[in-house]
């Protein structure tokens, strides 16, 4: 592929060539290639319509190549230029075992997402949101609480049946037990 692009640099002295790749939906309008030289200088260049770039008159030493596109994230590249002015080694700056071919083919690592994505509508996340919790709690209050409430007449009636039946737990009769006994009656 690179050979086809005609970017084979040969042994031009002090020249760093490469090509920046972008996905089809992103253009090169903000693409900038920044080279931090070992002398502490910052060299910049842009790309042509195909994404190709070239630095000329690069001194020897260890340089850092920083490709930039506003919408993409590229890894930084560590370049070693020998005394003849030829790039002797190009590797990712954070992992020098990842050696890159010369001329450089720079591919984005990911798209730069500057905004948080809203998650698609999801019932569970809605329920967990403040609105959802409010609704669930109120529904609970509306539907379940009335059923826990006991009619006073029922209560008397129930106490009487308990006295008559002489159930073992009768003395402890309270709301909780009442509620528990209410449920089977409702099913009638």
């Amino acid at each position: 592929m690179l050979g086809l692009l005609g970017l084979v640099s040969g042994h031009e002295s002090g020249v760093i060539r490469g090509r920046v790749f972008v996905p089809a939906n992103i253009n090169h309008s903000t693409t900038t290639i920044i080279l931090h030289t070992s002398t502490g200088e910052e060299l910049r260049t842009f790309v042509n319509a195909e994404g190709a770039f070239a630095f000329h008159d690069v001194p020897s030493g260890v340089h850092l190549l920083q490709p930039f596109n506003l919408h993409l994230v590229y890894p930084e590249v560590r370049l070693e230029v020998n005394r003849k002015g030829v790039v002797s080694r190009a590797a990712l700056s954070h992992n020098r075992n990842m050696v890159l071919n010369i001329p450089l083919a720079l591919r984005p690592a990911m798209e730069a997402g500057y905004y948080e994505k809203r998650k698609p509508f999801d019932v569970w996340s809605f329920i967990k949101s403040p609105y959802g919790l409010m609704i669930v709690f109120s529904l609970f209050a509306i539907i379940v609480f009335p059923r826990l409430k006991m009619d006073p007449e029922d209560y008397k009636e129930m106490q009487e049946t308990m006295k008559v039946g002489g159930g073992p737990g009768g003395a402890a009769g309270g709301g909780a037990i009442g509620g528990g006994q209410q449920a089977p009656r409702l099913r009638q």
Partner: protein, 965 residues
């Protein structure tokens, strides 16, 4: 693949205040600019005009609406590039900042070459006779070195030439020759451009002019012309003819009698194919024809204020002259260069331009003329007119098609001030009130977007409605202090007040070119709401230095006072002077020339009895310090107040010589609010922050741009210097490191970046400083009830410092650092890193906490302190960019202003572009968000109430039915 994994690890989702895409534009605005246009060229086939600007931007603008089709910043911002349009290749070749660039007209870079030095260079296409093969050859001339390059691929067409004689102030191309001369000199050097192309030994000819020549000169097919140094004559040199080249000077009062009466300042020459056009500032233009070595006046246009370069209109070669604006008209004349006849004449309404310039005087400085075919096959013209105030407008067929106010691309200093309390001062600016239906619609759309049930059109409508309904654009102050007036001092000499809600201009005041102020400072603010705050403008250059107070709400000048000396720096006195309900800022104006043994002249402003007394009684007097005249030295001065009007006596107190060159200096903002002077660790022990207000951070190392020695033994050393005594309190060294260094000091944290030579990567080093005095006791009860229990700290008896530091690799390459600032300083701070890609990255302070433990599993105590496990690289997440998905081209400054809500601060970023946003470094913990959706809340409540009623009814029915059983 490894890259993805690495980045996935590096990108933490723990981002404090990331925005959703539908919130874009709710708290922020962004304005793209290009700068003050210095040259313009109409696109040969597309409806575009391609320009270069004084801010070193190359751009093409859309002719229909003035929008930016593309733009590229060149290396050195701040100087207009030399530019040549190579017609045969449709490319623009620029020379700027030590580089040559060739762009195609679609924004692609064709090639780039380095020039020998950083100085200004001239680039020109070689104009030769048709028989010579010089098409597409360009000359780059810099400091006497001439390169001949093929514009297509930058291949060298001949060996570079060195011509010492060309290293002169002015180099002009004229009819195949290079003409070089020094301003005011009579000796002129001629060199044939074609001989450079041919690779011949350059034939240089020295010609003596009868008069010294000024910098106003032009060269073209008719030869070379320059106005004499005394402004009396016009000297012409005909080139390319037979015989010896010789100057002939003609007196201007004889040649153009009407022009000579006016001031010779601002005269400009423009070369045409038949002669020259002489523009006399704003006093008319003369179209001159050349023949027989003499110039002849074809016609004088008394009302013309600017002229364009030659353009072809149909079959005629013509220039565009602009007359006016006078009254409500701006007139464009198309004048034949060979006959002086007016070929076309069009009037344009000036009122729209005046409005767009916000009242600044309209003086055209550049005109570019372009021709186009109308529908009836006749030729029409359009003109791009650039006014001195920065307004750029396209005129065509009697209308101002569009205009851009580019003065804001030159903002140098900014200041946030309060808006008026009631709308009296800025009334009439309020937006239209929206009706209730719109509000309901807005809420419904908001709910849909939040639940992701919207269509794209609805999302767009929501954004539009948000702008309409928001009160962020009201020109009065609000309870939370979100709405502010943003004052900006521009390079075009205007003080402009922007509303921070949407960046619109509320008022603007323009100063004449010889009184352009350079500094904008706070002056006087009032606690009562009836007074407008006052700001101070300062012009530093002497003669002409002055200070002036401006009413910040109206732009009215309150007073102006000339200064007897220049000002090289302004030092604010930390505590302002309180005068009744007014808070008066006090400044020290320092006039200092960097010479050995020079003592600075210091005056107090305002220089009154009260301010002198205030200065004398202030708890600690400020100390001046700066880099000495020798590289790597620092000097400190002590100051002593005198009587009113007597100035301040400055005395050299100390001098420090550092081993290397100084790479960065940083001090803490003395007004920075600090909530607590102690840090409580999880084991309830207390550490005392080292908060010496006289702390200076100095980084030294190998000078930027200097080559490394073979042994790579370079190091960056960080020093902490006390500015009272000059004592070096602490220093630490990073072996194998070099600059550039950027640094910021905030509270007890110093953060600085440098470069690691071996890996080539940038390193951020955080240093936290603690007071290590043994036996300090502090209890919460003291803090509450005994404010005098704090121990005084003196620079003269320095306390021991405990410095905890840690270094991290950084993917962000900084060019500057700032820090967020909130009202009380309680909110966790974010460090604002200005990147070399013209963005601002908000880095949470916890990421650079030097105490991050070097293990993955944290103990309960460490988690309680909010520590995160150490990693060698700082996290990089695009969500943390405070500038969001915007690039602020040519970023020069960041201004941060606290609001009255502790959680929130305002940030304004300016360069060629402008960006404003609201920052909440620890999320909005003390307020509901502006776009809190009340509709959803009300809907939920209504649904619940209805549910309750229905359920109540149903329960009753059920009980009744059951009882009947």
């Amino acid at each position: 693949m490894h890259v993805q994994i690495f980045l996935a690890i590096a990108v933490f989702a723990l981002v404090a205040a990331a925005r959703f895409e539908d919130q874009a534009g709710a708290y922020d605005w962004y304005k793209q600019h290009i700068g003050i246009v210095s040259s313009a060229q109409f696109h040969p086939s597309k409806p575009r005009v391609c320009v270069t600007t004084e801010q070193s931007v190359v751009a093409c603008l859309n002719l229909r609406d003035g929008s930016i089709a593309w733009r590229k910043p060149l290396q050195a911002l701040g100087a207009a590039p030399s530019v040549a349009y190579v017609e045969s290749l449709n490319s623009l070749v620029t020379a700027s900042g030590g580089y040559l660039h060739a762009f195609d007209l679609e924004g692609g870079l064709k090639w780039q070459r380095k020039l020998p030095t950083q100085t200004a260079a001239l680039v020109a296409e070689v104009q030769g006779k048709a028989t010579e093969k010089v098409s597409g050859a360009i000359l780059a001339v810099q400091a006497g070195a001439v390169q001949v390059l093929d514009a297509a691929d930058a291949s060298q067409l001949s060996k570079p030439h060195q011509l010492k004689g060309l290293a002169k102030d002015n180099v002009v191309t004229a009819n195949g020759y290079l003409v070089a001369y020094n301003t005011g000199s009579k000796s002129v050097l001629l060199a044939s451009a074609a001989s450079f192309v041919a690779g011949d030994a350059a034939a240089e000819v020295a010609v003596e002019a009868p008069l010294g020549l000024s910098a106003s000169a032009a060269g073209g097919p008719a030869g070379f012309a320059a106005i004499s140094d005394d402004g009396s004559s016009l000297c012409v040199l005909q080139l390319g003819g037979t015989g010896d080249a010789a100057f002939s000077c003609q007196r201007l009062d004889a040649l153009v009698p009407d022009l000579s009466a006016t001031s010779p300042l601002g005269r400009k020459l423009i070369a045409t194919s038949a002669g020259f056009v002489l523009v006399g500032g704003d006093a008319g233009a003369a179209v001159l024809a050349a023949g027989d070595g003499q110039l002849k006046l074809l016609r004088f246009f008394a009302a013309a204020t600017a002229a364009s370069a030659e353009a072809t209109v149909g079959d005629d070669a013509a220039v565009g002259l602009v007359e006016g604006p006078s009254g409500d008209k701006l007139r464009l004349l198309v004048v034949s260069v060979s006959s002086g006849e007016v070929l076309q004449e069009e009037d344009f309404p000036a009122a729209a331009l005046r409005r767009a310039a916000h009242g600044a005087p309209l003086q055209p400085s550049l005109v570019a003329l372009g021709a186009f075919r109308k529908k009836d096959k006749s030729w029409g013209v359009r003109a791009l007119v650039v006014f001195r105030c920065g307004l750029t407008a396209l005129l065509q067929q009697g209308v101002v098609v569009w205009s851009r106010d580019e003065s804001l691309a030159t903002i140098g200093q900014t200041l946030f001030v309060d808006l008026p309390a009631n709308g009296t001062a800025l009334k009439g600016d309020a937006g239209a009130k929206a009706d209730i239906n719109t509000r309901i619609r807005y809420q419904v759309l908001g709910a849909k977007v939040q639940l992701k049930l919207n269509t794209p059109a609805e999302a767009a409508e929501l954004l539009e409605l948000r702008g309409l309904l928001s009160d962020k654009n009201t020109p009065t102050r609000d309870v939370n202090g979100f709405r502010k007036l943003l004052l900006a001092l521009t390079g075009t000499g205007a003080l402009t007040a922007l509303h921070n809600g949407d960046g619109r201009v509320l008022w603007s005041r323009t100063f004449p070119p010889d009184a352009v102020p350079m500094r904008l400072l706070q002056w006087r603010s009032y606690h009562d709401i009836t007074h407008a705050p006052e700001v101070l403008l300062l012009r530093e250059a002497h003669p002409g230095a002055y200070v002036a107070a401006i009413n910040a709400h109206t732009g009215e000048e309150l007073w102006k006072q000339p200064l007897p000396h220049g000002v090289s720096r302004v030092v604010p006195v930390p505590a302002p002077l309180i005068e009744g309900s007014a808070v008066q800022s006090v400044y020290l104006l320092v006039d200092h020339t960097p010479a050995p043994g020079a003592v600075p002249v210091v005056t107090l402003l305002p220089d009154t009895q009260a301010s002198q007394a205030h200065f004398a009684s202030s708890q600690r007097s400020p100390y001046l310090f700066w880099e000495g005249s020798q590289p790597g030295t620092l000097q400190g001065f002590s100051l002593e107040a005198g009587a009113a009007g007597a100035g301040i006596a400055a005395r050299l107190a100390w001098q420090v010589a550092l081993p290397d060159s100084v790479l960065a200096l940083a001090t803490r903002d003395p007004t920075e609010p600090i909530q607590s002077s102690v840090k409580v660790l999880s084991d309830r022990t207390i550490k005392y922050k080292y908060l010496n207000p006289n702390l200076l951070f100095v980084a030294t190392g190998l000078a930027n741009g200097a080559a490394l020695d073979g042994d790579d033994s370079t190091a960056v050393t960080a020093h902490l210097v006390d500015t009272v005594t000059g004592r070096v309190l602490y220093s630490q060294s990073h072996a194998g490191a070099r600059g550039p260094v950027t640094a910021v000091v905030s509270e007890n944290l110093v953060l600085y970046h440098f470069r690691d030579v071996e890996s080539g990567r940038f390193v951020a080093c955080a240093m936290e400083l603690y007071d290590a005095t043994p036996g300090r006791e502090f209890s919460v009860l003291d803090y509450l009830f005994n404010p005098n229990s704090t121990q005084p700290v003196s620079s003269l008896t320095p306390t021991p410092i405990e410095a905890v530091s840690q270094s991290y690799f950084s993917r962000i390459v900084p060019t500057g650092l700032a820090v967020t600032r909130t009202e009380q300083g309680i909110t966790a701070k974010q460090l604002l890193v200005i990147t070399n890609t013209d963005q601002v990255y908000a880095l949470d302070r916890r990421w650079v906490d030097p105490r991050r433990p070097k293990k993955q599993k944290l103990t309960q105590d460490e988690m309680e302190e909010g520590l995160t496990p150490y990693q060698d690289t700082l996290p990089f997440s695009p969500l943390s960019f405070a500038t969001l998905d915007k690039q602020v081209l040519g970023l020069r400054g960041v201004a941060v202003e606290p609001t009255r809500l502790e959680s929130t601060c305002l940030m304004f970023v300016h360069g060629v572009d402008l960006f404003y946003t609201r920052l909440a470094p620890a999320k909005g913990f003390d307020s509901l968000e502006d776009d809190f959706n009340y509709a959803l809340l009300i809907a939920a409540l209504v649904a619940l109430s209805v549910g309750a009623v229905v359920m109540n009814y149903m329960t009753k029915q059920a009980q009744l039915a059951w009882k009947w059983k």
